[in-house]
Symmetry: C2
Subunit: 139 residues, 2 copies
DNA sequence: ATCGTTCTTAGACTAAGTCCAATCTTCGGT
DNA sequence: ACCGAAGATTGGACTTAGTCTAAGAACGAT
């Protein structure tokens, strides 16, 4: 498996020195399509790696954010969540389950941002809330 | 001053029994144009009212949210914030100061929300981040 | 192999928020 | 005005997410 080697290279390209812990964390958090919180990362990683501490998980997640591999999202109370999809997109929060669903950037058009007086906008996103509709069975 | 009477009536119209603490909290949090956190509310209210507890501040803020007098916003880590402006609008977060600025609903146009497949959107807002531009002196 | 740099760790600590049982207020009925 | 039940408030213990620290382990260049 070149899997591990790929991740290692990816970290090094971003100026991050590899370590067993960082590789294990990266392997999960950079590949997931969910939006896990730090404690979820800890659980998942601790299940595969003999020993990894909470401090290291937080250190690593912050490092990955700083190096542009991850984005930090705050969409609901008490839940800071990490997103490996760093390109701009929107988020839908399911009010029932708390699940966070990505909404592609092209799915919505937002007009008027450059015209806002007095505000220098560096980034924005639409945050939507509601219920996920019952998945229509197709086929 | 009919001020206090007005607030009292407003609470009662929303099915909230008045009390010294609730009136004091309402007087501040329903009138501010800021987006205060619970601990700010506690500080401000404690300065005027002889005694008010943290538990009561949290109870009251939650009650006001439940009764539709206030909205709870989570825009940055560790800061749950209350907004007396309950009609839909957008928010800009100043990355330098942390200040939250209201952006009128009409200032932005968002298209495509009803067309999102599989999502029943009950509400949405645009969340913007950046720097507040130096206030241009006009006149 | 050595040594300075970097990384990880356990556990103490902080801050935001919740919970609870005891006490105090409010308010409608008399 | 008085009473009692329902409702509100309280201090303080508790929980949870996250930070900090000082000591040790791993790394990697020489
Ligand atoms: Mn963080
Ligand atoms: Mn809350
Ligand atoms: Zn995402
Ligand atoms: Zn607002």
């Amino acid at each position: 498996m070149t899997q591990r080697t790929d991740i290692r290279r990816r970290l090094e390209e971003h100026g991050i020195q590899a370590s067993a812990q960082r590789l294990a964390i990266a392997e999960y958090v950079l590949a997931t399509d969910q939006h896990p919180a730090a404690d979820t990362v800890l659980e998942v990683v601790a299940a595969r790696l003999p020993v990894v501490s909470r401090a290291t998980v937080y250190n690593t997640l912050h490092l990955f954010v700083e190096k542009g591999l991850l984005r930090e999202l705050v969409l609901s109370e008490g839940r800071v969540v990490y997103d490996p999809k760093v390109e701009p997109h929107h988020h839908f929060v399911d009010e029932t389950s708390g699940a966070i669903v990505d909404v592609p950037w092209e799915a919505l058009r937002v007009e008027g941002v450059p015209e806002l007086p007095g505000l220098d906008v560096s980034e924005f996103q639409v945050v939507l809330r509601g219920r996920r509709r019952a998945r229509r069975r197709d086929g």
